[in-house]
């Protein structure tokens, strides 16, 4: 009996040791955290008919990623998207730039980073929303969103996103109106880096204001003079003028209004278009391919001009077939960012691939044909004149 009891104690000790070991292992085991999509939209008070900006970022959690296919669903009963753009996105190649549907309540994009990236804050895209009805609005990530690692085989990695919730307040609760004669529309980008802010103060009200590129920075508790505010020589970026107010006396400050200013004075990055031909596309005819980034406001659109005498034409494509007939020896591509800054790159058609004599010397052929026609026309005139004694 004593022996059995001893065995029982020993076995129990062994069992406890095993259980403790397993627990310790589980506690000490480190698991890779899922890659996270997050937004810089926290702590915004939103009001009906007052637009607000949301920027999205990726934290790759020490992993190298290169491809993102993202779909967001938003409450389209009280929220609509005004604009969704790459902005200063770190994704430099797009299968599908950010597009939205207010009918479906979706924002979608497919883009990638050549060579991959590992960072805690990779800008993905921006969207400007307009609340259209009071209540709670949500933005959630669709389960079809996909993130692939930069590992040479496109391994899929889990992507997480904490849904965004906004409480939309009635329009009549909207704060004091702030205007800027230099930057009147908060949703637009301007090349002007001197900002003038104006607001109409209410009687018996004190104000404190601040101006920062950080949405999380709030004005201090020191009263500021009620006057037009000027900020000069501002670097490119997005700024928030925040106005706090309180009635005279020992009462706390409250947020009165926020006004967004967007400045971009820098052209898009220089780029080199490619002129190529491949038998598998465009029936082997030459095509041009171009792509670049803008570090601040983002690429708004491209324009293409075929030939020195051609017209600039806007295009949504970054791959275009070269027309068979061009007057002139160049193809020019202009990239325009959201602020209107431009960058132009030109291809010389002397390097046109798959060229035939006709394509390269089209201008000379036209001139020669014109001369031949002129000669024959003259001869015909002489013949007719003689024949009919005109």
């Amino acid at each position: 009996m004593r022996r059995n009891y001893k065995n029982l104690i020993n076995n129990s000790k062994k069992f406890l040791l095993l259980v403790l070991s397993v627990i310790c292992y589980l506690l000490s085991a480190t698991t890779a955290q899922a890659i996270t999509l997050y937004s810089g939209a926290a702590n915004q008070n939103v009001f009906v008919d007052h637009t607000f900006l949301v920027e999205w970022y990726l934290d790759t959690q020490d992993q190298e990623v290169n491809t993102l296919s993202l779909k967001l669903n938003f409450s389209n009963e009280n929220l609509e998207v005004i604009e969704a753009t790459p902005g200063n996105s770190g994704l430099n190649l797009w299968i599908k730039t950010p597009t939205f549907s207010n009918e479906k309540g979706t924002i979608e994009l497919i883009g990638g980073v050549t060579g991959g990236v590992n960072t805690k804050k990779l800008p993905i895209f921006r969207a400007v929303f307009k609340p259209i009805a009071e209540g709670e609005a949500k933005i959630v990530m669709d389960e079809t969103s996909t993130l692939l690692l930069s590992d040479g085989v496109g391994t899929e990695e889990k992507l997480t996103f904490n849904q965004l919730k906004f409480e939309i307040h009635p329009a009549d609760l909207a704060p004091i109106e702030i205007i800027s004669p230099t930057h009147p529309n908060p949703d637009h980008w301007y090349k002007q880096n001197k900002v003038l802010i104006e607001f109409l103060p209410k009687p018996n009200t004190e104000y404190s204001y601040g101006f920062s590129s950080n949405l999380e920075v709030f004005p201090d508790d020191v009263q500021d003079a009620v006057e037009d505010v000027i900020y000069e020589d501002l670097p490119d970026g997005i700024y928030y003028f925040k106005l706090n107010s309180k009635t005279v006396g020992p009462v706390p400050w409250e947020e009165a209004a926020v006004f967004r200013v967007q400045i971009d004075t820098t052209p898009p990055q220089e780029f080199q278009p490619y002129l190529a031909a491949d038998p598998s596309i465009f029936a082997g005819k030459p095509f041009i391919s171009f792509n670049t980034r803008d570090n601040i406001s983002g690429v708004d659109h491209y324009e293409v001009k075929f030939g020195g005498w051609g017209r600039w034409e806007k295009t949504a494509d970054s791959v275009l077939q070269v027309p068979g007939f061009i007057l002139g020896q160049t193809i020019s591509i202009k990239v325009v960012d959201a602020a209107g800054n431009e960058q132009i790159s030109t291809i010389n058609l002397n390097e046109l691939p798959n060229q035939g004599f006709f394509q390269k010397y089209i201008l000379w052929v036209i001139i020669i044909m014109a001369c031949i026609l002129a000669v024959f026309g003259y001869l015909l005139y002489r013949f007719l004149r003689k024949k009919y004694a005109i």
Binding site: T67, N88, G154, P235, T266, S280
Partner: protein
Amino acid sequence: MLKKETKKAIALLMVAMALLASQSVFATDYSSTNFTVKDPVIDEGTSSTSSANFGLGQSIGQLGIGKSTSTNFQLWSGFQYFFKVNANVLTATPGAGQASLSWTAPTTFLGITVGSYEVGTGTISGSYVFENVGSVTTFIKSGLTAGTTYYFIIKALSPGGNFLVFSNEATAVPTAAGGGGGGGGGYGNQLTFNGIAYPNSLVTLVQDGTIAATTTAATSGYFSMGLNGLSNGTYNFSLYAADSTGNLSPNLNTSRTISSGVAVVVNDLIIAPTIHLSYSTIKQGESLTISGYTAPSVPVTINISGQANVNVTSDANGYYSYLLDTTALIKAVYQVFSHALVGSINSPNSFTLSFEVGDTSVPTPSPECKRSDLNCDGWVNLIDFSILLYFWDDTNPFNPRADIDKSGKVGLRDFSIMLYDWTG
């Protein structure tokens, strides 16, 4: 018989055509996108030889063992048998009234270490005034005259202050103060990349998917590349090297944020080795050669799935190889990759290759085109992306190369693989 006016008209036309034809110079157009002819490097040979256990320093000739010095050089005569130091490489980037100097730490052997550096500055090649800068590997020499050519050299010293080795001489012509930059955009910023690739290899810097700069690494494998005139913002960069057989390394990726007036220097970039297998399928019992290129004279670890790691050393040309006896390997598919230890820094891994141990031997075929190079021009760039975009979402595309992962459909995974293989 033609009338006089007709003759005149035809003569005029012929003159016009002759004039036009004389302008039609049929220049011979030719281009090459698949190879690069580099100037042959006349290598007088390294100044030292080494094995695992000793290094032989250069012997100039001696009356006896000892040391001679002058202002500009030191002579170690005799057989220097107890340590060796490889020359480091210096780059000089001009600035407003100054020059930014950056150099690698010399590779040392058999116990000697670098204690400090002296920067030599002069306006005549080979003649310098030295100043000790401590153990840093970057230095800004200010107070220089704009427009004047300055010559720089780095002297490495042991902890005891003894001379170890000189770097190469670098030159810079400082600019006038106040130049460059401007506006809220912050143009004029500088970014420099310094690192180690393979001896005399072509190193390519890709900025946001486009080739921004190329350079040829030194015989030590050291390279330095700079970009000027960048506007403020965040950029993604990739670096890769091509070895002498044309194999490319995996991309080495980094992101940098540029802000006004800041010169950013990125040091210690180590390019991953290349790797090649002599056979894709090897008959059990025969030998398979695993080889590639990396920095010169460094330890290389070869990792074979399910097997113990193999350690080899690259030669002075950066070439490493290992003959794998497959007698003890079971018939299966194995994965292989390598990495090198450069100084105290482990390189990233090479590409991972596969081989199968079976009943026959099949040499590794030379690929017609590399994966993701959809138009087979030797590059994975915007043209290939354009082709991929053209066939996006296609099942069994007309150009089967667009289906990079051979899944039967052109989609996200193909896009990801192309981004990984991107060369710009």
